[in-house]
Symmetry: C2
Subunit: 185 residues, 2 copies
DNA sequence: ACTCACATGTAAAGAGTTACATGATTTT
DNA sequence: AAAATCATGTAACTCTTTACATGTGAGT
């Protein structure tokens, strides 16, 4: 289940251009699956070559022609297969947590900045999801609500954890870096 | 901040073999940064070539020689640089949530299986982290406690969300797939 | 004057995964 | 008898990221 297959998924709902698909990714999968043009356009070219999507070109002046893609029957079937067989993995790759792990090697100021920035990012995502949940484009797609709700719930948990334990970590680091002389050895 | 840099991080605490490093990854970074031999061994070879680590070989019979790596001063400095400059990203790539998003295209049985499996995986991770938090190898590393606590908190949130909203999703999918004939159109 | 939205793509580099290859010892 | 632990690695493949390349029109 990679960018190619998610493109099929997006196209299973509506025909779209590469540009549209990128926007859809941003709107809907932002918190669990990101992709840029550099992976979407080649993916579409590949799907086209394999006969899973077809495209019709729409001329535009002063702009590159629009290439509007739609699923073929083969593509629809391929997507069904993909989601039927895909293993439900959930991978996290977090440089942020690596930094927290090695917090004792950072200055308390840098540490504070990182945590602040992370909380800000999380809050932006939460806002984004809350806006998205009010759109009613996803009537009839119970999964949309579920994934938005899941995102909101886990992001809030992450934010709250940092808020509640961030100072503790900073204090711990300060103590380690400047041990008090008064200590019962 | 990739596997190479995390290897430096692990070696900043203790000398180790590639095999040891893999085990350390599993014990400590499992919930936010996974890596296999296929990325660790080449990483060490590369770091060695760049003079960031040194290795001494220990002969063993009936086994390949052990290669015990340790940081050089250059390597120690490189790691300090890396964590000072690294952007604190946190990436999630979740096929699991993709499947939930397109839940309406799955059979309720498959959906139930996926959620059950996911909850089981989360529970295993939680247990793992709870065991790890009782080890006292991480004295003096306040970041270790923080990352374990963070993992526990967010994993529990994820588990609880699925428990509380999973049935709702399944019901929604069933309704969409077999609409009742009794409906006020 | 600048940035955002529209609209397409390529090329090179970087990273990670998977399968392969070897093989004794210990535990279940 | 099978599986896990110890211990190394490579090669091929897949996938993603980043930077480049091009250009208009509308809004601030």
């Amino acid at each position: 289940m990679d960018v190619k297959e998610l493109c099929l998924g997006v196209l299973s709902m509506n025909e779209a251009t590469g540009y549209d698909i990128k926007k859809y990714f941003e709107k809907s999968f932002r918190h669990f699956f990101a992709a840029g043009y550099g992976s979407i356009y080649p993916a579409l070219a590949d799907l086209s070559k394999k006969g899973l999507v077809e495209c019709r070109e729409q001329a535009q002046d002063k702009r590159p022609d629009k290439k509007i893609y739609q699923l073929t029957d083969k593509g629809r079937e391929a997507f069904r297969q993909a989601i039927t067989k895909a293993k439900p993995r959930h991978k996290i790759r977090s440089q942020y947590l690596v930094l927290m792990y090695f917090a004792h090697m950072l200055s308390p100021d840098r540490l504070r900045d990182i945590m602040f920035e992370r909380v800000k990012e999380i809050e932006e995502l939460i806002e984004w999801l809350e806006e998205g949940s009010q759109e009613d484009q996803h009537r009839g797609m119970p999964g949309v609500e579920f994934t938005i709700g899941f995102g909101l719930h886990t992001l809030k948990a992450a934010r709250d954890y940092i808020r509640e334990h961030g100072d503790e970590l900073i204090t711990g680091v300060e103590e380690r870096q400047h041990p008090t002389t008064l200590r019962v050895a």
